[in-house]
Amino acid sequence: MKKTILLASIAALSVNTLQAANYTVDPGHTYVSFAINHLGFSTMRGKFDKQSGSLSYDPAAKSASVTIEIDAASIDTGHDKRDEHLRSPDFINAVEHPTITFKSTKAGWSGDKLSSVTGNLTIMGVSKPVTLKVDSINCGEHPFNKKQVCGFDATGSIKRSDYGVNYGLPAIGEVLDLQIELEAFKD
């Protein structure tokens, strides 16, 4: 009888673990990029080269959360001199505030698919709520390494002045469009 209870407990625990699946961000397949208006002429694009984080995803329970930590100094717009300037106190002050973070607080669902993630984005020590629209999310077995993997594409936008990044306003755009493509392996 005791053995049966123990086995049932282990089985229940396993099911719970499967449902509340936790994933660790794969930095090699995760991209945090941005686009901003440049002097009214065109759109300037850039990305961050180093990020880490975690994802928890349980569509059956409609539960999801995501945390992303971005190395501010890894900003990359394809122009070394400009990147140095972007790291300086004029923009994101990467030495004083080395990490940009996004921590979700709420998930929005469309049927059994994750449709949005709301959370706090912290830049230069200022945290503001941001909602990211999840354009697609898929989970399954990776075809090559056979590990369980989840990936999503999400977009959103912020006002940079909300975070104290005021340099060059209004000539350099106020609204920063964010794009996040993320893959994460199951722990």
Binding site: P89, D90, M124
Partner: protein, 281 residues
């Protein structure tokens, strides 16, 4: 008008220069520290235009603005509030070093032991050197403000060239304010004598501003640390030329020249070494 106020050259050159010029003229018969209050008011207006009186997040740059304003208030009041010259002399180095810790402490704490040691040696060494070098010229209005103006100009131009327009603007607005008060001194003469100021409390605003902005430009931006060496030599270079002429204009010119040569030379060199090979961005 608003468009003019948004332009960096007005925020950190024209406006602080004019405000300091007018205020020194108005205050010089009222207080011995007229130049301090003239620079304080000019810098306050300038900082408001550059930063918008916003204190959150309290970044290193905003701490620097607050500390410069605090140092100017202290230098303006100390001759009346702190009667003991010895106490005044002790206040300046202690406050400057505490200011360094407040602004850079969090960043330096993340460094390894070698980095922390280099910061302590470099930062404290720079403060002690500047206090000593400015001390030599504190008795001469021409030399003090000639060196202060040149030093802030050199730091401002170098910081701007080394990828932080914000730090550059702060230093340049101090240079412009100092230049405005200096020109008023040339045109109208010395302020009235009242109160007693030690050399180090009189030079505190220049020492603290130069140390904080210079080190911030090295740590937060990309100013090569060794650019601070010739810039820190400006007060010493100024002291090497005796200025005891009848003409205030001649005294001002001779006091400013060595510093200006160094400041412009360093700024040009920093601009050359840090400028991009491609066409702007």
């Amino acid at each position: 008008m608003d468009q003019l106020l948004d332009r960096p050259e007005f925020q950190s050159a024209v406006i602080p220069f004019v405000v300091a010029l007018l205020l020194y003229s108005g205050l010089r018969k009222l207080t011995a520290t007229a130049w301090v209050w003239a620079i304080f008011a000019a810098f306050l207006v300038s900082a408001g235009l550059i930063n918008g009186f916003i204190l959150t997040p309290l970044t290193g740059t905003r701490k620097i603005i607050l500390l410069i304003l605090g140092a100017l208030i202290l230098a303006g009041l100390a001759p009346y509030l702190i009667r003991q010259l010895k106490l005044q002399s002790a206040v300046a180095p202690v406050l400057t070093i505490l200011a360094l810790i407040w602004v850079f402490g969090k960043v330096v704490a993340r460094l390894d032991l070698t980095g922390i040691a280099l910061f302590l040696i470099g930062g404290v060494g720079l403060v002690i050197w500047l206090l000593w070098a400015f001390d030599r010229i504190a008795g001469s209005d021409a030399q003090l403000h000639g060196a202060g103006f040149s030093l802030m100009l050199g730091i401002g131009l170098s910081a701007t060239a080394a990828a932080s327009a914000l730090l550059g603007q702060i230093a340049l607005s101090l240079a412009a304010a100092s230049g405005g008060a200096f020109l008023a001194w040339v045109l109208q003469g010395k302020a009235v004598n009242s109160g007693k100021a030690s050399a180090s409390i009189a030079t505190l605003p220049y020492v603290l501003s130069a140390a904080l902005i210079g080190i911030a430009a090295v740590i937060f931006a990309r100013l090569p640390w060794y650019a601070l060496i010739p810039l820190a030599a400006i007060p010493l270079a100024t002291s090497l030329i005796p200025v005891k002429f009848e003409s205030r204009f001649l005294n001002a010119l001779l006091s400013s020249l060595p510093g200006l040569v160094i400041a412009l030379g360093v700024a040009f060199w920093v601009w050359q070494t840090s400028s991009s090979s491609s066409s702007g961005y």
